[in-house]
Amino acid sequence: MTRIDVRKTYKLYVGGAFPRSESGRSYVVEDAKGKFLANAAQASRKDARDAVQAARKAFAGWSARTPYNRGQVVYRIAEVLESRAAQLVDEVQRGEGETKRQAQASVEATVDRLVWYAGWADKLAQVVGGTNPVAAPYFDFSLPEPTGVVAVVAPQESSLLGLVSVVAPVVVTGNTVVVAASAERPVPAITLSEVLATSDVPGGVVNVLTGPIGDTVPTLAAHMDVNALDLTGVSDPATAADLERAAAENLKRVLRPEAAEPDWTLDPGLDRMTRFLETKTVWHPVGI
């Protein structure tokens, strides 16, 4: 007897749930060879608004967790991702047109990247914060705090390693994120959403929108309740400049895109974490 395939419905990931696009739209995703892969949800500006709302709601709880606990949660993402490695290898291979070996290396690097960032969760404050010597009777110290809701445009080429490399550093320090996934290769992002939903990450900490970035990113850039904007996945300099201009209205922190997509397999350094932190300095009177 032949069996009928159970076709998967690809949806957004907002506030810990998997809603369809408010607009009801979807678009066709093709693999690297131009063959039909899936119908993915095409997010609208209202989905972007809902995602920001969910991220804002999650921020208080997530940023108040101890860094140690956030590290545990990010490590848990790596665990769950590892257990779905086979599926992700297949998706990355088809979407990016790589060999199986390359895709496997990419998924392994993704897991390692999560573990690496998880380890930083409770160590970053020691590196970028600390006591400051001041010439007055004060105990003076600085500590990093999360910026708030960060909108991220994920890399367009590297659909899994690139995505995790931009999302993990933002959330591990206590920010919440709305990420616009790679428009042409959204499938690994959707699978990552399923991983996030089952790995102790509170709903709303990571929100994933799929669809052409022109539909959602201008809304996110202009949104007054978004605190920072990472434009890594915007390849056109003119578009990036427009988005940066829109972001200036409420003085968002903006991370400009590089001329070409970076090599995600390299050591990431601390830049992506420290970019979305605010430094709080306390002057505490002493010695009277």
Binding site: R49, V52, T219, A222, H223, M224, D225, A246, E249
Partner: protein, 336 residues
């Protein structure tokens, strides 16, 4: 559409709102309020509410799409209808003054933004609110009669009401004795409303039913008629202290009641849903329902109000979005 309870004598079916006077009632309604037995006969003779039908109607009215200029109009109207409320044990004069400033000028960044209808406070804060609002045209509403439970002797309730009126309240929000109503002592509830109405003097009286405690839509319809017969200027769903507070179907049943009451007596009574309305989207659903059920005459702050605190910020955020094209955030508006 609900059938009128009894065919109204055409001579009294004037549409112009007239001051509420129980004495004005047509004979058949005046007779209904003579005794417990008469009230029971009348209230239980009201047609029952089709629960599924009311909920379905409310849900379908909630699907209307209100966009662009209609939305701008609706948002401004909703702001003008807000009774900006703070009813907490932790209220201080400072907080009430801050709230009054917000009531007069909800969006300091936009002089075109209308004021809200009223500020709603506990009786001891009426003086503070009165002073802060001055001649701004924003009314002072005060809850009274042992709000929110209503469990006190009538003397205490009347003293509470007089206190608030003397301190300068323009509107009194009283709670009914739900225990008496549910036990079927309708005359007691009626007499209490009449007594409070007298104690109000020139102040307008809103009667709170606490529909979350009344169990059925039939009871909501009965209590609406009871309060209107007793001379309420406004009927109000809830105190905001009990869940569920205002819901769209409950408000729909009350809107039907005020519509039918005007048809029967020529007198217009206002409606105020309170509690649980937090988003501009919800508020617009209510406005659609008002227009479709009671009619456009009720689309006015004199005849329809929202009892709310957080709703105002969402209305302002939506208003800002309409004006600037960019989504706004809670950082740009005051918390209370």
């Amino acid at each position: 559409m609900l059938k009128p309870v009894t065919p109204p004598p055409s001579s009294t079916a004037a549409t112009a709102p007239s001051p509420a006077e129980p004495a004005d009632l047509p004979v058949h309604l005046a007779e209904a309020t003579g005794s417990d037995a008469a009230l029971r006969r009348f209230l239980h003779g009201l047609p029952g509410v089709d629960q599924v039908g009311a909920e379905a109607r409310a849900a379908s009215l909630g699907t209307r799409s209100i966009k662009t200029t209609a939305k701008e109009f609706a948002l401004d109207l909703a702001i003008r209808m807000v009774d900006l409320t703070t009813l907490e044990g932790q209220d201080t004069p400072g907080k009430v003054r801050a709230l009054c400033a917000k009531a007069v000028r909800p969006d300091p960044a936009d002089p075109g933004c209308p004021s809200v209808a009223a500020v709603c406070v506990y009786p001891d804060m009426v003086g503070t609110a009165r002073q802060a609002l001055g001649a701004s045209g924003v009314h002072v509403a005060s809850v009274a009669t042992a709000f929110p439970s209503g469990r006190a002797a009538l003397d205490v309730k009347l003293a509470d009401t007089r206190d608030a009126v003397e301190a300068g309240a323009d509107e009194i929000d009283m709670v009914i004795d739900r225990g008496a109503f549910l036990a079927g002592r309708y005359q007691q509830v009626y007499d209490e409303i009449v007594a409070v109405r007298e104690a109000c003097g020139d102040a307008h009286l809103k009667v709170i039913f606490e529909t979350g405690e009344l169990q059925t839509y039939d009871n909501v319809r009965r209590v609406s008629w009871l309060a209107m017969l007793a001379g309420a200027h406004f009927i109000k769903t809830s105190t905001g202290k009990v869940q569920p507070a205002a819901t769209l179907p409950v408000t729909l049943v009350m809107l039907e009641a005020v519509r039918d009451f005007r048809e029967a007596t020529g007198r217009m009574v206002g409606v105020k849903p309170a509690g649980g309305i937090r988003t501009a989207k919800d508020a617009i659903k209510y406005l659609v329902t008002v227009n479709e059920v009671a009619g456009p005459d009720w689309l006015d702050p004199d005849w329809f109000r929202f009892g709310a605190s957080t709703l105002l910020n969402d209305l302002l955020m939506q208003r800002t979005k309409m004006a600037t094209g960019r989504y706004s955030g809670p950082d740009y508006f005051t918390l209370d």
